[in-house]
Every structure is written in C-alpha cells, then in structure tokens.
Amino acid sequence: MPSPMPSVRSMLLTWAGMLALLALIAASDYLPLGRYLPWVQFAAAAAIVVLLTFFWMNLASATAAVRIAAFAAIFFLFVLSLLSFNDFLTRPVDLAPFHALPGAPAPR
C-alpha cells in the first residue's frame, strides 16, 4: 500500500521552508548570538530534518512499526552516547603528544 503523498504545492512550501532554515543557519554565523549560536543552529537543523522525515519520508503517516523503528534509532543513539560520555567525561585524560604543546588548554 503506497503511502499518501502530499500535493506539489505542499512539497514546494516544505522545500522553501527548508531553504529558509538553511539561510538562517548560514546567516547565524555572522550574527552576534553569543552562546546561543549553537542552539539556534541546531534547532534550525533539527527543524529541517523533522520536515524531511515527517513529510517527505512519510513518517507522519507511517505504520506504528515504522515509527517505533525510527524513534528506537534515535533513542538508542542517545542511550549509547550517554553511556559513552559517562565514561569519557569522568576519567582523567591521558595527554597525547600533540596536546602537550606549551600553553595548550588543560584537559577537563
């Protein structure tokens, strides 16, 4: 059973929205956003990915099994990253030779 496809008009609107978000990401590099810069950029990138997956990959109208597979991927990536960081961020860092340059930032 083919998934229902959006109309050409809605496809073009989605595409225009994606390009506008891309322009926002590129322009944000030149705006004085300070520490909010990465958050603005990641929010815009995430919005593009959401538009892509929900509307053009039809996740919005997919079966429950497909949605579970998609969200399980993100969930387990999050869990694996959390477990890895639990190790990496809580043990002392052994300096590699290139880190031992005079004045190099101290390991956290």
Binding site: S3, Q41, I48, T53, T63, A73, F98, P102, R108
Partner: protein, 228 residues
C-alpha cells in the same frame, strides 16, 4: 511530460499491480510493501548508529577544546558547504516529486525527476571534490603538513580528521544512492512503472536519509564558530 504505461503497450497500471502476486511469505501485496518499508527504516536505524560513533567523537573533541574546534571550523569553505546543502535539499524535492510520479504511474515525469536527482547528487560530489582539493592545497590535512599551528593545533587536527571521515563516509553513501537511482533509470526504460513503484519509494527513503545526515554534518562542520 509523462508517458502513461498504456501508450507503451503496457496494460493499465492498476491491473498490472493487481496481477503482481506477493512473494510467497506474504499474504498480500500490501503486507509485502509494508515489510519492505519497515526493512528500509530498520536499515536506516543501523546507518544512524554507524554515523553515531563518529558524531560521538566529534562531541567529545568539541567538549575537550571548543576554541580549537571553532578555529578549525573557520578554515572550512562556508560558501561551498552552504551551496552543497542547498543542492541536496533541491535533490530531496526532486526525489519526492519522483515518488509522487511513481505512485501516479507517470513514467516520463518519474524518469525526469530521477535523472535530475542523480545530476544534483553528482554536482554535490563534484563540489565536494573541489573543496577537498582546496583543503589539501591549503595544508588542512592533519596527517600531512598541517597548516594550523599554536595551542589549538591538536584539537584542530582532531576536527579535520573527523571532517574527512564524516564527509567521505557521507560521500560514499551518496555515491551508493546515485548508483541506485541510475540502476532504476536503466531498468525503467521501456518498462512499466507499477512493478517498481514501491522499490523507488524505498530507495527514496535512503536518499532522504543521506540528505538529512548532510544537514547535520553541515551544522557541525561549517558553522561551528561565529565568523563575524
């Protein structure tokens, strides 16, 4: 623009689709289509894990020395990176239009949109190759004569190692996607659209995954530091 199957002497599409029996392990054609789509999503989940290991490395490196990653990011070519992202978003549109044409059994439109998608993919690869050439010329290869010096040299080297690994892995995926599209273009010559409808829809999922992954890479690599 499109040539209906009937004009090629091919039976009406709906009839042809109805005549296609499902594989023996499926009760109906609909079951088979759902299983195909589900299988592709599970495959894409494993692909996300594949990229995930490198993305984790990136997050760790950026956490260790954010200033070093920011300095290295300023050496990337924002214009080419942005143009390439726009090209892939355009290819995502043409691929979606190709799926629409496939579901409406418009073979002319389908073949045109698939061809445009493949060309946009090739344009992306050409620009990426040009960018690699520039990077090498500018001494931005961490395992060769690396140009960035100073206290952030180590982090910058780690950034560029991840840059090459992530973008090359992405380019490999895009090559595979382009080959898949070209294969369908060849197989569709003089053939009915109906038997390929679900296959093309599933192939487009892979194409969109490659597009989405690039948007994330673009944000991590090209705009990781303010240029103002």
């Amino acid at each position: 623009m499109s040539t209906p199957d009937a004009q090629l002497g091919i039976p009406p599409a709906a009839q042809l689709a109805a005549e296609q029996p499902p594989a023996k392990q499926f009760g109906t054609r609909s079951n088979q289509d759902e299983a195909t789509e589900f299988g592709m999503w599970v495959f894409l989940a494993t692909e996300l894990m594949f990229f995930g290991a490198l993305l984790l490395g990136y997050a760790y490196g950026r956490h260790l020395d954010p200033a070093g990653f920011a300095e290295a990011s300023r050496h990337t070519d924002l214009v080419i990176g942005t143009a390439n992202t726009a090209i892939l978003l355009c290819s995502a549109l043409t691929m979606s239009l190709a799926i629409r044409a496939a579901q409406r059994l418009e073979r002319g439109a389908l073949m045109s949109f698939l061809a445009v998608s493949a060309l946009l993919g090739l344009l992306f690869l050409a620009l990426k190759g040009y960018e690699y050439h520039d990077d090498i010329d500018e001494g931005l290869v961490p395992w060769a004569d690396f140009r960035i010096t100073g206290i952030h040299r180590g982090a910058a080297a780690m950034f560029y190692f991840l840059y090459y690994a992530l973008t090359a892995l992405h380019a490999l995926h895009l090559c595979i996607a382009i080959i898949v599209v070209l294969v369908y273009l060849v197989r569709l010559r003089g053939a009915a659209v109906a038997p390929f409808r679900q296959q093309i829809t599933v192939a487009a999922l892979y194409w969109h995954f490659v597009d989405g992954m690039w948007v994330l890479l673009y944000t991590l690599i090209y705009v990781a530091s303010p240029r103002s």
